[in-house]
């Protein structure tokens, strides 16, 4: 292939990925139910938990701040894993995926559009959570560059892993109707055991070990390292933020998600291929 045709096909791919991205976003923001579920739900949880649990996790550091870090980590799971694992079965049933498979659009453009949407949803959720928490609960937002560098890499690794796992998991529910019933309890259990709703250090150790297998525990810990004072590292079970181990665990989940997604992703319903 000559350089010119490579350039042309690259720019064509970019156009198609942008088209898919814009199509996805437009549909998302026009669907009132989905907007409510995606954005209002985490905000409501923040308001409720922030209003009920007014105590401190250690003197001078409120549970609200701890919970906010946990909700931002949950945002990665909501935007990537839960969103894709629920929406893709719907797209498999309403003909979206079948239509795409019957058009000459490269299939990678579909995945690029999905990833773009996941990032937009996550960034919007984080912005809303930070805004809400600082207005309502006077939570202080970190300004140090190092905190935001940590935020960026934890988010990037977490979004990559959860997007791939969401793509893979989208083939598990037998029907679109059944998808939330499979996906939502799974997310809730991980949130309860990974330090979102409860102080992780206060959980029984078997529960801590269980949660440490999955990405969310590492995401909440990573987000606590961004939003909580550095002194709180001593409060973690391991006594530190465990950044290197977090990166390794998330990378392993990226590999697992990629292999699983490639092997299991279906464009059509079971028995229709």
């Amino acid at each position: 292939m000559t350089t010119a045709t490579t350039e042309r096909s690259t720019s064509r791919w970019l156009t198609l990925a942008r088209v898919r991205f814009s199509m996805e976003l437009r549909q998302l923001f026009r669907d009132r139910q989905q907007v409510t579920f995606t954005f209002a739900f985490p905000m409501m949880l923040m308001v409720i938990f922030g209003s009920v649990f007014t105590g401190d996790i250690v003197p001078g550091v409120s549970f609200r701040l701890y919970f906010m870090a946990g909700m931002i980590a949950s945002g990665i799971v909501y935007a990537a894993f839960q969103n894709l694992a629920i929406v893709i079965p719907l797209e498999r049933e309403d003909g979206t995926l079948k239509r795409l498979r019957g058009t000459p659009m490269p299939k990678s453009a579909y995945f690029a559009g999905k990833l773009g949407t996941v990032v937009v949803i996550y960034v919007a959720q984080v912005a809303l959570l930070l805004l809400l928490s600082s207005l309502l609960f006077h939570v202080k937002i970190p300004t140090a560059l190092s905190a935001w560098v940590t935020f960026a890499w934890v988010s990037a690794l977490g979004l990559s892993a959860c997007t791939l796992l969401g793509l893979a998991f989208s083939s598990i529910p037998r029907t679109a109707k059944g998808a939330p019933a499979v996906v939502t309890p799974l997310v809730l259990i991980l949130q309860f055991t990974s330090g979102v709703y409860f102080n992780f250090s206060g959980l029984p150790s078997w529960m801590q070990h269980f949660a440490a297998i999955f990405p969310l525990k590492w995401l909440t810990q990573g987000m606590r390292s961004v939003f909580l004072p550095a002194s709180l590292a001593a409060h973690e079970p391991s006594g530190s933020w465990q950044h290197p181990l977090t990166a390794v665990i998330l990378a392993v989940w990226i590999v697992i998600g990629a292999v699983w997604a490639v092997r299991s992703f279906r464009w059509q319903r079971r028995g229709e291929d």
Binding site: T15, L16, V19, S22, M23, R26, Q27, R30, D31, E91, D94, G95, T96, K98, R99, R101, G102, T103, P104, M105, P106, Q268, G271, E272, D273
Partner: protein
Amino acid sequence: MSTSSPAIVVDNLMRSYGSSRAVDGVSFSVETGECFAILGPNGAGKTTTVEILEGFRHRDGGRVSVLGVDPADHSPAWLSRIGIVLQQATDAAELTVRETLGYFSHSYPRPWDVDELIAAVGLEEKATTRTRHLSGGQRRRLDVALGILGHPEILFLDEPTTGFDPEARRQFWTLIDSLKASGTTIVLTTHYLDEAEHLADRVAVIQRGRVSALGPIATLGGRDHAATIVQWRDAEGTDHSVSTATPTSFVRDLLAQFPDGEIPGLRIQPPSLEDTYMSLIDEDVTP
């Protein structure tokens, strides 16, 4: 590309689901520019056959060529030459008709002008309506528009008018007629015999995964040699119906019984496609 080579060749196609043979040795070919209908009862293997041609389903055996390409290869270049109208779709619910067509037009090397296409399928008044608010017939028109958006050489229509009212079906046929006139090869599956009769040049009847009859509509199942039905009413007002291979001489003899030269309620009918179809299906059901 030679225009004389068939657009589609299917040779001894096989596909099983578990232990049941959905498609069991189907063979036919579709000429370029032809409208080819696949008829058959539910579960006969129509959709499986068509979806193998569209590249959606895999096959267990046999040879398939669509525009000279094996659909299993499923390349973007090939997909840009075919158009698929899905059996039922409710995707792009929150987008308007114009947005949906506009977005999908980017996928094709030489797409229709979106507004011209909207006019061609008669959706001008719905161009800015979100697709979730379209009626069943309007939604099918959008599906056809999406199917022909890339100027396909072959258009696949899988039960396109199921659930239509008679007027919507007529309008739909006019649309397909205009595509035929422009030289598009069309493969149609349908439950409706009048639809096949109106649109198709040739028909294949598929039953239990096999082709049980294949040919031009006019001669399907020996229809052209089948007996004609003559119906009339006698002087007492009783209706009669006679099946005859020589309708002309029968009517001439009949006329002799009516001195005023008019036979009340006279109807002379060739066997309808439906009669032929039902007799084909019956033969199969009771071997």
